[in-house]
Amino acid sequence: MASSKAPVTIGFLYSRTGVTSVIEVAQRQGALLAVQEINAEGGLLGEELRVADSNPQSNPHLFKSEAARLLDDGVDALFGCYMSSTRKAVLPEVEARQSLLFYPTLYEGFEYVEGCIYSGAAPNQNARMLADYLVETYEPRYFFVGSNYIFPYESNRIMRDLLSNRGAEVVDEVYIPLSSTREEIDRVIDRIRAAGPVTVFSNVVGQGAVDFYRAYDAAGFDRTVRPIASLTFGEPESLAAGLDASVGNVKAAPYFSVLRTPANARFVAAYRALFGPDQPISAEVEAAYIQVRMFAEAVRRVDGTSRRDLLKALPTFSFEAPQGPVRVDAVNHHTYLWPRVGLVDGKGEFEVVRETSAPEAPEPYLVEHDDPVSFAKAKGGGR
């Protein structure tokens, strides 16, 4: 039975060119897989779920204008954005039209916009476990490097607090432009060398990250004792950087493609059947996938696409995601996720070296990441 509200159309904001295209292309594929599965199951509200596409080219101005175009064309919700600068550009358009943005990327926290559903990790869902793992495993001296925009600054600030609470020291902190040159990366490598034995925490994103990881490898630092740790350098970036540059590095994320859950086995098989057997899948890709599935579930439950109804329905169910059961928090619109730490093994695969036993509640405004209240909550395994 077709509903008068059908067909449902979702708008994609994933860059296929520009500095963050590697990860955004993969995120788009994750979202497309979900659309294909939903349509194979009979679509939404009795009709095929449709996609309105765009290529905002990793550029905030284009994200804003493409979001406006898609919304004016009547899409029921937007999906996408990788860098915070692109999300910030899109959200005023979303709010002005009382629509929705599903944001599938980890970010720096400290935001709540009513029409935004955040399904990447908030800092309490990745950085804290990473800090624990790092101080127990590697050099107690840290070198921070990041791209020159909000996420790296805030992420480094948070990690500095976490490490300092654990008795570790940050010896230097440097930033490079999003489109970085060989010389800029070489200068960072020189400073790392000059800093003596350090573990690197990198918030460099996009192509710059691939170049930086390769340069770090070429410089010959022993990654069994001084790896690069990050919240962002996952399976697609590792593939782009190559095996040699990837082995021994650390990432904290709620999802790795090696997870042995039945839901993940199905997800990985379906993804690779659709996009190719060697396609890398990372947490950001899984989040892009589960967001479309959760949106579809909410649309079915409310039999429509009204923003108010969807926002009410989304927190009322748990979704069996590849990472484990997840759900949207009714108060802050972020998502309960499964913190994990992964280490790249000799074959270039992430090996999960630490994981939580229960989904962790999102805390986007958790200013003190290690105050007694947070500790108690972490010990209780989420709330």
């Binding site: 915070s84 910030k88 400290f110 020159n148 600030r157 930033y175």
Partner: protein
């Protein structure tokens, strides 16, 4: 009750130090509607024109140092700084505090709120300036009291004066020399140092 005089607002000289994008334009347009004298500056320059009353300062990680340098060189009395921000992260709020902002406008900027922010920021800045002036006066006064106490004790010791008589002596001397009591007290201390040949800490 505090009164807002629009004429005061219109006579303000405002600098908008922000990239020429939609947010910067919204601020400039609204200032135009209010009728302020407005300069648009981007990127931050080496110095600020004299007698700027209010600065709308766009806060960005990559231009923070230039912005800080520019505002540091502003003439006294310092302008009221309104930070224009797009993130509410502690990392960015640290930059806001570093600039000494007394008000904040968040992006996307709406024309509503610009005037309120200017009025509150100016008032806040004026109170700070008044307090600073008051504090400087009090500090001076306090230092004067210490000097007078010291001079009194010198006179009491040398001439066996009572405290009241010592003060009266200093006061009369100051009157006849047409100088302040503090200056006279300082002269007594200096003379005593000279005669006793040892420096006396005040």
């Amino acid at each position: 009750m505090a009164r807002i005089r629009l004429k005061d607002l219109r006579s303000l000289s405002v600098a908008v130090v922000h990239p020429p994008d939609a947010n910067g334009q919204t601020i400039l347009d609204q200032l135009g509607r209010i009728g302020c004298r407005t300069d648009h500056i981007w990127p931050p320059e080496k110095g600020l024109a004299s007698k700027v009353d209010v600065v709308f300062a766009g806060v960005f990680f990559d231009s923070q140092e230039q912005m800080k340098a520019m505002l540091r060189r502003a003439e006294k009395p310092a302008p009221a700084i309104i930070a224009v921000i797009d993130y509410e992260n502690p990392a960015m709020l640290e930059l806001v505090l570093e600039l000494g902002a007394v008000a904040v406008t968040s992006k996307p900027v709406r024309s509503f709120g610009i005037m309120t922010n200017m009025v509150v920021a100016r008032d806040c800045q004026q109170r700070q300036i008044d307090l600073q002036q008051k504090m400087a006066k009090l500090e001076k006064k306090l230092a004067g009291q210490k000097i007078i106490a010291k001079a009194k004790s010198i006179l009491m010791e040398m001439h066996g004066f009572s405290e009241a008589a010592a003060f009266e002596t200093i006061r009369k001397q100051a009157m006849s020399k047409r100088t302040s009591i503090e200056d006279m007290a300082q002269a007594i201390i200096n003379a005593n140092e000279l005669l006793s040949g040892k420096p006396v800490d005040v």
